[in-house]
Symmetry: none
Subunit: 518 residues, 2 copies
Amino acid sequence: MEMTALSRLTGAGSDDIARVLRAILEYADETLSADAWQVAGHANVPFADLLDILQKLRERGLLEFPDSSGASTSEVRLTKQGEALARELRVARTENVTCQTCAGSGFEFEPFHDAYHQFIPLLAQRPPAESTYDQGALTADSVFRRLALMYAKGDVADQRILLLGDDDLLSLALALTGLPREIVVVEIDPRLCEFIERVAREKNLNLRVIQHDAREKLPADLRAHFDTFVTDPSETIQGLLLFVEKGLAMLAPGGGRAGYFGITLIEASMLKWNVWERHLLQNHALVFTHISEPFSLYAKGNELGSGVNINFPPMLVPPRAPWYRSSFFRVETLKEFVPPADYDSNPHDELYQDAESLDEAWAVLASGQAQSPIPVPEEFLNASAQRAAQAQNGLGRHVIAEFWNCENAQSENGLADAIEQAVRSARATLLDLNVRRFYPQGYSAIALLAESHLSLHAWPELGYVALDVFTCGDADPQKIVQQLEKHFRPRNTEYIKIPRGRVRMGLLPEPITLPVPV
Amino acid sequence: MEMTALSRLTGAGSDDIARVLRAILEYADETLSADAWQVAGHANVPFADLLDILQKLRERGLLEFPDSSGASTSEVRLTKQGEALARELRVARTENVTCQTCAGSGFEFEPFHDAYHQFIPLLAQRPPAESTYDQGALTADSVFRRLALMYAKGDVADQRILLLGDDDLLSLALALTGLPREIVVVEIDPRLCEFIERVAREKNLNLRVIQHDAREKLPADLRAHFDTFVTDPSETIQGLLLFVEKGLAMLAPGGGRAGYFGITLIEASMLKWNVWERHLLQNHALVFTHISEPFSLYAKGNELGSGVNINFPPMLVPPRAPWYRSSFFRVETLKEFVPPADYDSNPHDELYQDAESLDEAWAVLASGQAQSPIPVPEEFLNASAQRAAQAQNGLGRHVIAEFWNCENAQSENGLADAIEQAVRSARATLLDLNVRRFYPQGYSAIALLAESHLSLHAWPELGYVALDVFTCGDADPQKIVQQLEKHFRPRNTEYIKIPRGRVRMGLLPEPITLPVPV
């Protein structure tokens, strides 16, 4: 009873409570005491939720803070009652079976020991991590474990590699191996840029550094150029998508390119992982090939909570060992991959902080103020507020076009680009584009626009394309039709334009035959 | 020149050729000879494509088969010209950096050594693998590496575990640890069922075996019951989805449940992985938390090619070591997870073989017949071959409908279902459905059909819905419109029907105003 009441009370699902209990039991000694930092690193629950659950467990007498002054130890300990809850939730004490040789990464970096030994002193000299840029450097071993994984996948030797942000100095580690064909670092922090550049000069490394705020468009010569990108994005929904999609925009088209990014379950819930995974699969021709154990350890921790007056004794003591860790994701492009457009981030998007962020969790703890839920990102929404206003003139304009004897309807090559450009030229916004090839021939494309939709169906064997463009708002459907006509190059065309959604009835007028676009 | 011509010739993308060359170089000795079986296991290219690429490389003088009788060795060797191609494609020779301790799995199974030592003799006694059931057993080490990974994730101790198919005897390994709360095996092969049951009886293991063809609905008492499922599905698109979705149907609702499945890049292209990943994320509240290195090795191989008269010398020699390997996927449910309905598979679906299957690749090699591409599954596709035939009557029929004063246009709740049903009622095939809500109100849905498309845009504040249904073939667009009219319940409607793609010009007729459907 008590137990079920507890689940209800915390607001967390019993699965989150089970995760926290599992982490406590995994890191507990015989007295069932565990280091709160390691629990935070292994619970797979966002930090703020973890703190909330730990506090509520304590209030209910299920958990104790042995050093309640927070002066000497960061331990938490399950009470007898806490043990009973773990049993009820079927959380058993487990041994740590992570491979000690590779820390769970699956790869050894022994072949790179020369580079490794040159790298260690560099890490000590790097400018200190700067929280303004959401920094926090990986341990040297973690850097080289990432490197080994990338190498094993064929993404290092003789490859063109882009690092989008490089707190971790992975660029230097890569360059020290002498293996990549090209390494470019885009980094916002001038101190880091200077440091990496200086080391590269001194050691004569093949490495180029560009100081740039990745929230803005990247230099055009980087576009569609790389084989591999790596980024350690911030973990807001917008932040991750911005960094990863910019990475994708810089990859060369076609199959076999790779993107790597580190993400945690400390500042990102599984729901966020789900949003990211779905978004990336829906919008880009890629596949997840690898989601690693969270083997990447960060030298974060000492900075946390400083200057914040918190009443959470176990975490008043700084962590004794790295605890913050992330999983390394690998995506690989399919043959159909076309690099997406680069874009400036929306200046109103908060890229670094949301309710799941560490800093936010501390601030909440200090202020006692409840947090708001993670904000839903701009690009999943849309300003369709003007729609209603247009009801008077018809809500939408629908152009139906028939293209016959097309010179360029044989295949869907280049079609996605043509649609993207056509949509952009009409100042419309492409939300989703699906191009599908049929067997044995033929293809369709449907695009969801913020302003309605575009559809086309091609019968290459007949040189025929059926095109529909439906827009509302200011976007001009004829412009899109004209652009796509340039793509298909039909010798014969017909069009009609149908106003849609004219207020009240009698809405479907005689079709208006448009002049053939020049 | 030669090189680019080669890429064109093989029909494979240069990325696939690069993958094959990378695997050759990774497994090559100093003379650049590599075991063809290991190359097949590591190329990350479907087996049939691999054979095709190896043969074409040989025809072009880029690759040699040192033992051209196929009597003693399965080696393939790059020629000087082949090395040059590798350089051109920027494929460098890499060392194997897979962790030798854990074989890349990231976990050690030392804590389970008692169970492991009891397991080894069992594996030797098991009934031989039966290709009718797409069997092929994992090595004992691989079984225990899977077990260790599952254990580390909290999915073994005190958990209720379902095995959907169990060639590998993972159920016995799990039971021998004594850790799970409950283990149920659903297995089609009566010999295996009997074996597992007998061992369980003799060793007094906590284990229940149900002999059942998983293509049919599972016993109702298994539904929504388990914490964890494991399956090693066949690798057709339908096969994997059938097994994994049945596993999901048996999980208890809510967050923190886990599903595991092994899949290869030997019998499944990255395109298939993409289809699977997208389908699972789009249809179920889950997240991919783990995609492992392909550490699972199968004792497959000796059975292959027997009785098949192939002209491919390197593979006339049976493999000397396990070469067939798979990645282990882990999905975890979100709080929002509801187990899907169980279902009988469509008896017309081929679950075990497609053009990427091993057996199929051998058969092709034996017959010299070109293979057809992977059959795109029923639900993703359609026989669009009739399309051309219909050119006389117009290729497609397009119904434009305007629904005003709808009683049920407030939200998109239930819309996806309504669209699915409407499409099914017209015997059309839904390939992709995208429902998007706009802020602050309004929503759109676009559906790609095998027979063209459906789009709708709703202005709930005005009670207005703009609907377009465009079909070709036998599917009747009016039927879809009628069904959706039942969903939205408009008080006023208008329709026009426009034939699309009438042969030659003069194609756009006067619209025909349809009678209002009853």
